[in-house]
């Protein structure tokens, strides 16, 4: 096996590790907003790392992979931003241990909207 292929496979494995951590975060985090953060940041980076590993493994695919990375960079953060904002508008409660609600302050609402309503 060529050393380049080995490096590519390892980088892809690193990306898979990030994706796994993202999945773990979705299970372990206390409320929707924290889960969303785990699900977004970890998967964006994990995706890019996986694709980077693929690009090392198979350099001929680089242009197409770059396009995919650009698309992921454009869509993943924006879609989870929209979801999180909609959840906040829909008054999905924060977890008990959250200390600040910057978005509510930005809207000029009193902070801590429905904090105690957590099941």
């Amino acid at each position: 096996m060529e050393i380049r292929e080995l490096v590519g496979a390892l980088v892809t494995l690193g990306g898979a590790a990030f994706l796994f951590l993202g999945a773990l975060g979705i299970v372990r985090m206390p409320d929707l907003y924290n889960r969303m953060q785990a699900g977004t940041k970890a998967t964006t980076l994990g995706n890019i790392l996986t694709l980077a590993g693929l690009a090392i493994y198979e350099p001929a695919w680089l242009p197409k992979l770059l396009l995919v990375v650009l698309f992921v960079l454009m869509t993943n953060p924006v879609s989870s931003h929209a979801l999180a904002r909609a959840a906040h508008r829909g008054r999905v409660p924060l977890s008990d241990i959250s200390v600040e609600d910057a978005l509510a302050e930005a809207y000029g609402e009193t902070a801590e909207p429905a904090k105690e309503a957590r099941p």
Partner: protein, 235 residues
Amino acid sequence: MIKQLVGLLAVLAVAALFVALLPLMAPTELGPVTRHYVEQGLVENRGANLVTSIVVNYRGFDTLGEVTVLFLSVSGAGFVLRRREGLVPEPQRRSSELVQTASRVLFAPIVLFGAYIFVHGHLTPGGGFQGGAVIASAVLLLLLADRDRLLPHGFLSVIESFSGFGYVVTGFVGLAATGSFLANRGVIDLGTWNRLFSAGVIPVIYVLIGLKVGSELATLLDTMMHADQAGEGHR
């Protein structure tokens, strides 16, 4: 308890059905027509994607029917959900600036991707219907990000009508050139296998289908979006 029992029975019934149908899944002999498609498809149409040469050439007339069905359903939806003119919709909360900007930036690449899919319909998986659906998803993104946006209906219906017309005209060109409707051989040079300009009229038809499906679905989305809004504003 009873609920679980019923669920278990349902699973068992499906499993029994699966076992009963299993013999049918054994490989059978190809019929003469199927054999012709499989063996002669590449020779006769020179399209790298055999499915496309079946859908657009051998079964091209059926596909024309499918496109018509789609057209009729969109027209029906437009009739039922027609936009009430002069009605001021209830002001709705706007999407955040991030979403609006991103949707505007992403619109062009997604449309380009849809066009790529239907232009390469005779070479790679996918074709006019899939590419048109991708284009419509770009329009949906735009409409979701900015609900007040109105699509240019006149422009869309011109595209839609002309692509449908072009499909039928292509069929008649085949009829005039070779004596059979939607014929492929003998109309345009078939070109070299697996090139962009190959497979005769198949890519022409798939581009027309892509434009038609994209504009139809975009019109449908716009109709549904604004019909809903007007209905709420009225009550």
